[in-house]
């Protein structure tokens, strides 16, 4: 019998390939959220230190000032600053950004030292900058502070935008005493 009828092979191939492509699109849509993306991180080598602090805890004064130095290899944009008034508590939870009186911004709970990563490695931001009036509002009294924690922040490019990265690994703590 010579007259065999059937689907053309080309049509068969096209159909099969089309089905595979459609199925792969479904699988891709389902799995694409599981593709890991790079996280927003602060580069290793970011480091700061505090020196020359002056903490006056008298009832009619109650202010704090210090020099912040960039000891790392990357410039920073600012910092988060927290304090503790309980020597038994290992984590500082009083947000001192509410008491900031230095120039510049306290935005979103952080102290920004300008519009970008302005504190270059090896530079200091002195007493005139990092000043905090602990008597001002909000009215929640801080009490006598026993510890200070500073976490530097830095602008990094993430997904095509400049985002503020919290450099938690570069956190520093110092014990405070009235002077």
């Amino acid at each position: 019998m010579k007259n065999k009828r059937g689907v053309s092979e080309i049509i068969g191939y096209v159909l099969l390939i089309a089905i595979v492509v459609v199925i792969s699109i479904f699988v891709y849509q389902w799995l694409k959220s599981y593709v890991p993306q790079s996280a927003l991180t602060c580069p290793d080598g970011t480091a700061v230190s505090i020196s020359n602090y002056k903490y006056n805890c008298a009832a009619n004064a109650n202010n704090l000032s210090f020099t912040l130095s960039n000891d790392g290899t990357f410039s920073i944009a600012g910092y988060f600053i927290h304090a503790s008034n309980n020597s038994n508590q290992t984590i500082a939870t009083i947000d001192l950004s509410n008491y900031y009186t230095g120039p510049g911004d306290n935005g979103g709970g952080s102290i920004l030292l300008g519009a970008g990563n302005n504190l270059e490695p090896g530079q200091d931001e002195g007493i005139g900058r990092n000043t905090f009036n602990l008597s001002m509002t909000p009215a929640i009294k801080t009490g006598t502070l026993t510890e200070l924690e500073v976490i530097p922040i830095r602008y990094v490019e993430y997904n095509g935008k400049q985002r503020v990265a919290n450099c938690g690994n570069a956190k520093i703590s110092i014990s405070l005493s009235c002077n």
């Binding site: 059937g6 689907v7 089905i19 959220s33 993306q37 988060f80 927290h82 038994n88 984590i91 938690g168």
Partner: protein, 153 residues
Amino acid sequence: MKKKGVSPIIATVLLIGLVIALGTIVFIWFRSFTQEAVTKFSGENVELVCGDVQFEASYTNGNLAISNTGNVPIYNFSVKIDSGNGQYTTQDLNDLTGSWPKVGLRAGGVFSGNVQTSGAVQLILIPILRGSISSGDEKSYTCGDRYGQTISV
């Protein structure tokens, strides 16, 4: 002998249609076993974001202190309270304390609040993140136990 049967073209179309229909049924059935993906940031599944969460916590004299030292906002915590005899109870932190911020703890944020846990020997804090689902609504996701942090009471 005249053999009757379906035309090969029709048979092929029927077979392909049957395969597509069966595949769709299997796909819909399989989807019922998987949760709707909750994504965060630029479409990354929230399960992967749990690994980027960093925080510190301590418990002293009834006061729980938490510091978000990472770059992932933490919406809430699931607190497993270990009573020491193999028994656990689980509650969300915003139910244990009235002072947990409604929007959660942003990157760099700190929290201090009174949490009473009578009889507990340790607490396990497991972060809860907030992300988006395909409809655009927000949904919470509790990270796995391995992302929790144990603190002594």
